[in-house]
């Protein structure tokens, strides 16, 4: 290597100060912050300056119904996801490693498989002439196909499917951080399995449940693809309504205002979640 090349390399360096952040900040500033702020601006200027878009959204019963539906679906999905995820995470946290790695493999496969692929599969499975209805009719359990798609049931099944990994994986971490000796101590103190669960295991995993549940709730609030494909017109969710306002109705003012409402709610809940995760760390250190 020549002396000049040596010097060239010696002066080149990966910056460790603010400089290294520059490309990321330019990208996020120019192509994330600016467009989002422009959208916010549009919600109070399009078609005319003022708050009429927000007044329209919050004053109209149709839109109120969409807001209500969005919260309802997100809440139902969150509750079901927590109830299903907890026992699975519990077992994953303590089962033999060989068995756990198989289960982790299934979870990762489901999580990494293309979102549309998974939703498509549920559309086929849940439709009137789909596998589930045929199987139920074939078994003589029902004689008319159940309405499993284009309604709350379909959205819930599809969304829970997508959210489960996001709940299970962090909960495994929370449960693994609990010393099994604590539960042994509870048993020797006289706590039956039910009492030990209610008084020790559940309270100790509550920070993880709350943080994961809030994350699932926030993600569900703004979800677009699955509700659009598995939900019905009578229970449209906010993200789909925003897309329709822009794409079909070309009503940029109203769409931007609705998007901004979604943004504010999401960010507020996200801030709450950060605080929960923070407090979880504090408890975990005990």
């Amino acid at each position: 290597m020549s002396v000049q090349a040596q010097q060239g390399i010696a002066t080149l360096r990966i910056p460790e100060g603010l400089g290294g952040l520059l490309p990321a900040l330019i990208l996020i500033g120019l192509f994330f912050v600016v467009p989002v702020l422009a959208l916010l601006l549009r919600s109070v200027t399009d078609p005319a300056p003022g708050l009429q878009n927000y007044a329209a959204l919050l004053g109209d019963g149709t839109y109120a119904r969409v807001f209500f539906n969005t919260f309802l679906v997100a809440a139902v999905v969150t509750i079901v996801t927590v109830l299903v995820a907890f026992p699975v995470a519990w077992m994953l946290a303590i089962m033999p490693p060989a068995l756990a790695s198989i289960l982790f493999g299934i979870i990762i496969l489901s999580m990494w498989t293309n979102l549309l692929t998974r939703t498509y599969a549920w559309m086929v499975l849940l439709q009137r002439t789909g596998v589930i209805n045929r199987a139920l009719i074939g078994a003589g359990i029902i004689d008319q196909p159940l309405p499993l798609i284009n309604n709350l049931t379909g959205v819930t099944i599809g969304m829970v499917y997508i959210m489960l990994p996001f709940m299970i994986l962090p909960l495994v971490g929370t449960l693994r951080a609990i010393d099994p000796m604590t539960l042994r101590a509870a048993a020797l103190c006289g706590a039956s399995p039910l009492a030990a669960f209610r008084r020790i295991l559940l309270p100790l995993s509550l920070p993880g449940i709350a943080a994961g549940g809030l994350m699932v709730f926030v993600m569900s609030l703004g979800y677009f693809v699955t509700p659009a494909l598995l939900g019905g017109t009578s229970n449209m969710m906010l993200a789909e309504m925003i897309a329709q306002m822009i794409q079909s109705m070309l009503n940029w003012g109203l769409g931007s205002a609705a998007a901004f409402i979604l943004l504010v709610v999401t960010m507020a809940l996200y801030a709450l979640q950060l605080r929960l995760v923070g407090s979880k760390r504090a408890v975990g250190g005990a």
């Binding site: 042994r184 101590a185 020797l188 006289g190 039956s192 009492a195 030990a196 100790l204």
Partner: protein, 359 residues
């Protein structure tokens, strides 16, 4: 021995091909402080876990007042336990931790309050009732754990190396506390430790474990002064082992020949030995003296290193057969400078303080 309160009958625990506990049998009278002492992996904790119900033994039985405990799940055994790691419930205050066993037993509120106050007074933590465990030091946490384990007046208290995570000063402080609480409550305590000083300090009796078996059970004095075998002699206190030849048995005591050819009479032997059999003679470092009195045995050594420690000297000496031995005689004005490094001389010991084991 009076009628056994807690009995362990031929307890065996195997993990696959490895047997952690080999047919251990033990009787513990009510109110005794019994320590399981032994190196790690000797089966002492496994035995304790079988009593607590954390592990099912492969065979054998554990009886409390004549009734088998094995078919009873842990939460109905009514046994108290303090663990090696801090196992306080991190989300509950100190008072609620102590109250926990009473609450799951659905005791009335007034009784719970009274009992918690008594227990916190017992471990001298009255002023910490509302703190969370994370706000306590390690020693305080173990005292709360002790209060929690005693709150429901269990007939037996198990302690699994409860002081091993604490520093030396705290350890001594809590040892004193445990002795006091044992005296005041009269609870039967089974205590596991690998620290012989702790065992000697605390226990009525010590069961010394080795490879899943009890090598010897007895008082600290028994184990120190009358070790049943070479393992016990080597584990408890410091010992020197001199290679000797057994000559004969005379008046119930052994006669041996040391490596330097001198004959020692009146030695206690753990097992019966044959004439001419090779054997090992155990002599504690502090049993050696630099000056001889009539009746003591003598040993020719070369002094390798010597240091003065006030009440005692610490001398490393080499015997005629080349073994290095540890000698800690009391400082003796009559022999002020006779132990310089490099010098050769005689050292002395009382044969009655020596033990003979088969080689």
């Amino acid at each position: 021995m009076t009628q056994a309160f807690l009995s362990i009958r031929k307890l065996r625990k195997a993990f696959g091909a490895f047997t952690a506990v080999h047919d251990v049998t033990l009787d513990i009278p009510k109110g005794e402080f019994l320590t399981f002492l032994g190196p790690s992996g000797s089966g002492k904790s496994t035995t304790l876990y079988a009593i607590a119900g954390f592990q099912d033994p492969t065979s054998g039985d554990v009886l409390l007042q004549g009734k088998s405990l094995l078919s009873i799940p842990s939460h109905k055994r009514n046994i108290g336990m303090v663990f090696q790691r801090y196992t306080l419930f991190p989300h509950l205050s100190v008072a609620e931790n102590v109250a926990f066993p009473l609450r799951v037993r659905r005791r009335p509120d007034g009784e719970v309050k009274r009992k918690v106050a008594d227990m916190l007074a017992l471990v001298r933590l009255e002023n910490f009732a509302e703190r969370l465990p994370a706000a306590l030091s390690g020693g305080q946490q173990q005292r709360v754990a002790l209060a929690r384990a005693l709150a429901y007046d269990p007939p037996i208290l198990l302690m699994d190396e409860p002081l091993s995570a604490l520093d030396k000063k705290l350890r001594e402080e809590i040892q004193a506390e445990i002795r006091r609480i044992h005296r005041e409550t009269g609870v039967t305590i089974l205590y596991v430790t690998h620290d012989q000083e702790e065992a000697l300090h605390l226990s009525d009796r010590i069961a010394l474990f080795r490879s899943g078996r009890i090598a010897q059970i007895g008082t600290g004095e028994d184990l120190y002064l009358r070790p049943a075998n070479e393992f016990v002699a080597g584990f408890i206190g410091n010992s020197n082992f001199l290679a000797v030849e057994h000559l004969e048995t005379e008046n119930g005591a052994a006669v041996v020949r040391l490596a330097d050819g001198s004959i020692v009479k009146g030695v206690k032997a753990a097992d019966k030995l044959d004439r001419g059999q090779k054997a090992r003679l155990m002599v504690r470092p502090e049993a050696f003296h630099l000056t001889g009195v009539p009746g003591t045995a003598s040993l020719a050594v070369e002094i390798v290193d010597a240091a003065f420690f006030g009440d005692r000297r610490r001398v490393v000496a080499r015997t005629a057969s080349g073994d290095e031995i540890d000698v800690r005689p009391t400082s003796d004005a009559a022999d002020p400078d006779g132990a310089d490094a490099g010098s050769s001389r005689q050292i002395f010991f009382d044969p009655a303080a020596a033990f003979l084991f088969p080689a």
